[in-house]
Symmetry: C2
Subunit: 327 residues, 2 copies
């Protein structure tokens, strides 16, 4: 019997999960749940659309609900709410609030006998796993996470809030020289500003003061002031044509020394190069949905993160097959 | 209370584990167990040395025994034998025989209420984990494992068996062009010979026919015939001076397509660059020894591989700390 999956929230991520499920032969999509009028939503593969309000009544038809809302407003409430009825997976990515979100979801899961896996994706998610494996294997070492090249939604939003700005996209770009140093194993101390540059493509409103906009961007505390920042003014047409892509990626390094006199450098690097950030994130969500279903069937209850999931639960093959072909 | 660890077998790997334990504040080394006369073995950090025959009598003093023997002759018997008395970890790396080895260790563990984790290291080991994560996330994709640059013990041995050869070292080297293609996400079909070249440093015996040796190497089936192979004749002094290092490494890739029309490439890459193959392998063994102890305390019994271990078990910090700093 296939694993029956629901999708809560239908934006880029929801569409990605819909596509991902169509390539997973052991899973099937029951439907998409939305706060909009269901008849107004057209799904990519023709999946059924339900009102989110009707979700609780379908608790026996769905093994795992994958939440595809945003971390700022949707998930902090929705994941715990839906965990009353379903095993849940989300991609909550506000790193600082993960402990609080975990506790909220954990309490509801334990009260209702459900299982939740939060903060699933690539960062947090696969990158968290790599940081853990790195630290566990090389305890006396240094971690480095680089992001990009890719669009930072938060930084793009920050630019859009500046007076005179009509639209904007901001790319985070790793600094090649910093990457080189890290790969050598020298364990340099690097600020985020030394690891990344920021490139901004800005559409100014008619008659806006471009010099003032550029100044406002480059001096914005936290977001840009500590970075080498480049600003390009372009037209809305150019922005739509050249900067609509959702490519992203990044790298996690762990470097450590071994040997009686610390004479050996050991370097671990994990790198993602993604044409579509939401489609890749969706694939990770779907793999962990498989794990959630299997663990729940074994009786597991409560909230977990990717760090708590034995890898074999993610793969459709059984232990015998995995040992034969993959170990 | 610290996790009490024993080391069975004291070569490069055993010494690496001894050093690794000295950097793990939650673990302590009880002693090294050897088939040699204990008084003839000098340990790097002054660890105690016992006869392997005395190991069973110390079953209550050791939480986990890390086996550091070879996969050809030692581990196929030793791991199961020691699993009668101890939770065991080994680095069994004969890929084709892993299922058989697993079954043998599993049976003994279950009979004696112990836990075993086999085939721990980087390949098998971390590379197995990466192959699994890759396949689980990108089910419609292609896997690539590259090894090197590093010495292949098996290929070096094969050269040494040729008439007229006094000594030899063989390096396996990834082909840059193949790496480039894989990184582009084109999913090329590549034989091992297209992925790697082989470079041989050979010491010929006095008066040996060098041309015949070179011919014998380059035409050797399985080992060299299908590869672009280079042979250099050097003196024993040069071999000892320039080729005594144990650097190694490699890469695991998973590339897959996403999008409604498979229009997006997603590339996952995991890369190791190691100055010391045995010292890094030792670090992985020690991290999984921590996991074995924790799992055994929870009541787990039987044989496992790295794929069966939830990552959080490897890290000394607890769940709250991990969620705060690492997810």
């Amino acid at each position: 019997m296939k694993i029956r999956v629901g999708i809560a929230g239908y934006g880029n991520l929801g569409r990605g999960v819909e596509l991902a499920l169509s390539t997973s032969s052991d899973m099937e999509l029951v439907g998409v749940f939305t706060r909009r009028a269901p008849e107004s939503v057209n799904t990519v593969t023709g999946a059924k659309v339900f009102s989110l309000d009707d979700a609780p009544s379908m608790k026996d038809d769905i093994d795992v609900m994958i939440l595809c809302g945003g971390s700022a407003k949707d998930l902090p409430k929705q994941t715990a709410e839906l965990a009353k009825y379903f095993n849940v997976i989300d991609s909550f990515d506000t790193h600082a609030n993960i402990p609080e979100h975990f506790d909220a979801v954990d309490a509801v899961c334990k009260e209702n006998g459900t299982l939740g896996i939060i903060s699933v994706g690539w960062d947090p998610g696969l990158f968290s796993l790599m940081r853990l494996y790195g630290q566990a294997v090389l305890p006396d070492g240094a971690d480095y996470t680089f992001w990009g090249k890719g669009v930072s939604q938060g930084h793009s939003d920050a630019i859009r809030r500046i007076e005179g700005v009509a639209d904007a996209k901001q790319y985070t770009i790793p600094v090649e020289k910093a990457l080189e140093e890290v790969r050598k194993g020298t364990q340099p101390t690097l600020s985020t500003g030394e690891k990344h540059t920021r490139e901004c493509f800005v559409v100014a409103k008619e008659g806006a003061d471009k010099a003032a906009i550029e100044q406002a961007i480059k001096t914005m505390p936290n977001y840009f002031a500590d970075y080498d920042t480049t600003v390009h003014f372009i037209s809305q047409e150019e922005l739509n044509r050249d900067h609509a892509g959702m490519a992203h990626g990044g790298m996690v390094f762990r470097t450590g020394k071994t040997g009686l006199h610390n004479e050996h450098n050991e370097v671990m690097e994990f790198k993602l190069t993604l044409d579509s950030n939401p489609e890749f994130t969706s694939r990770v969500l779907v793999a962990f949905a498989r794990a959630a279903h299997r663990l729940a069937k074994e009786g597991a209850v409560g909230c977990k993160t990717v760090l708590d999931i034995a890898p074999a639960y993610l793969h459709p093959a059984d232990g015998t097959e995995l040992r034969k072909h993959l170990v």
